[in-house]
């Protein structure tokens, strides 16, 4: 019974997502949807170990390895031309002791986050593009985006429905809505905590400067549209407390 309910919910969700993205495509225009499509495909390829996922992890680890080489005396060796075996051996012994930024146990999480990150970037970039003509074509590509996102993310949903309404009386529904709200809050907290844990595992305390930098760039970049209108009302030194 619960398995069927989950399947039904997933099917309903599948069509809702496609419809939502198609509608969004119709509103935003073709270039916006094509941009989103490109980022979704790139994200999908990076998120799958069998395509570019493993390459991405290897690339990040190797680049970090190269940077560590330069930091631990490699840069000095290159500048001075001192490439004797003892120096190089010492540098490699030192950097071999350091853990890779993405260890094997975190590799899948890293690929998944890279995929989500690219999809989000695609969404943000698409909002910066102007609305154009060909709404019909945009609707189709929007639906395609919805379809791709559904086949990427829907299999991640649990087999059992996480929440079902059992008691349909007024007090029962109110109580269950409260439970649903706390379930969603708990899910959100778990998600944020998982993301932060991953960031700290990967980047150590550098996770915080990276997060601050990302917030600053994303929010500042979002202010570019409607500049003229706003500069008159809130820009400059305007906008009191």
């Amino acid at each position: 019974m619960s398995g069927n309910t989950a399947e039904l919910q997933a099917n309903i969700l599948f069509w809702i997502i496609i419809a939502l993205f198609a509608w969004q495509g119709y509103q935003r225009g073709i270039w916006s949807e094509l941009t989103k499509l490109a980022f979704i495909i790139a994200g999908f390829l990076l998120g799958m170990p069998e395509y570019l996922g493993k390459t991405l992890v290897k690339l990040v680890n190797n680049i970090t390895f190269a940077i560590q080489f330069l930091i631990h005396g490699g840069a000095t060796a290159i500048i001075t031309g001192n490439f004797n075996a003892t120096t190089l051996n010492k540098i490699f012994t030192e950097i071999k002791r350091l853990p890779p930024p993405i260890p094997k146990e975190n590799a899948e999480m890293a690929m998944f986050l890279a995929m989500v990150f690219l999809i989000l970037i695609g969404y943000l970039v698409s909002t910066l593009l102007k609305k154009d003509k060909m709404p019909g074509m945009a609707l189709v590509i929007g639906a395609l985006n919805g379809y791709l996102l559904s086949i990427i993310f829907l299999p991640l949903l649990p087999d059992e429905p996480p929440f079902t309404f059992k008691d349909m009386s007024v007090t029962g529904v109110v109580k269950q809505l409260g439970e649903l709200f706390s379930y969603l809050v708990e899910l959100l907290i778990k998600g944020v905590a998982g993301l932060l844990n991953f960031m700290f595992d990967t980047f150590g305390t550098w996770a915080i400067p990276i997060i601050l930098f990302a917030i600053v760039i994303i929010t500042l970049a979002s202010l570019t549209r409607g500049k003229k209108k706003s500069s008159a009302s809130s820009g400059g030194t305007g906008g009191g407390s």
Binding site: T205, V216, L220, S230, G235, S241
Partner: protein
């Protein structure tokens, strides 16, 4: 008074509420001044000021200040200066950023992010002034030690401990570029 982190959390949530009221484009102006303040404090004030204060005091009164007195002066002085800068960044004509803030859910998310960032920076910096100078405020019995386990854990992630001083300057540079671009 209760655990230290409760005060930290109160200030943190307060800034999130402010961000929702003012909008993130205005809050980013305050963020710029917070970055400037943190750069000046962590790059110049914290490493150099204790020696200068001690030297000046010795020159004037021909006696050295005790370590605890310096800690009191530094923690209180930096907190007052920092709060004054924050106040200035919110009072009167503010250093708002040009552009129309995003509306809807994305706008809500941006307000939340910028509010959380400002809350973390302000509450974290004020906590840092106490932590770095060995909690002088406890001498007045306003807050009590020891920290709870959670408090100790959070104290490891206070902004000046995890962000190198020069990084604040980089962030200020980035924000100024966005501020002046056409």
């Amino acid at each position: 008074m209760g655990p230290f982190e409760y005060l930290w959390l109160t200030v943190f949530f307060f800034f999130i509420l402010i961000a929702f009221v003012r909008g993130y484009h205005r809050e980013l102006g305050a963020t710029t001044l917070i970055f400037v303040a943190l750069f000046l404090i962590t790059y110049f004030a914290v490493p150099k000021l204790p020696t200068i204060i001690n030297k000046l005091y010795r020159e004037t009164f021909h006696i050295s200040l005790s370590q605890r007195s310096i800690e009191h002066i530094m923690a209180s002085g930096l907190s007052v200066i920092f709060i004054a800068i924050i106040f200035a960044s919110y009072a009167g004509d503010t250093f708002a950023f040009k552009g129309k803030p995003t509306k809807g859910f994305t706008g809500f998310l941006y307000n939340l992010l910028v509010g959380a960032m400002n809350g973390y920076l302000v509450a974290g910096a004020l906590w840092y002034f106490q932590d770095y100078f060995h909690y002088p405020v406890t001498d007045f019995h306003i807050l009590q030690l020891p920290l709870t386990t959670t408090g100790e854990h959070i104290a490891n992630f206070l902004p000046p401990y995890v962000v190198p001083p020069i990084f604040w300057a980089v962030l200020v540079g980035v924000m100024l570029i966005f501020r002046v671009r056409k």
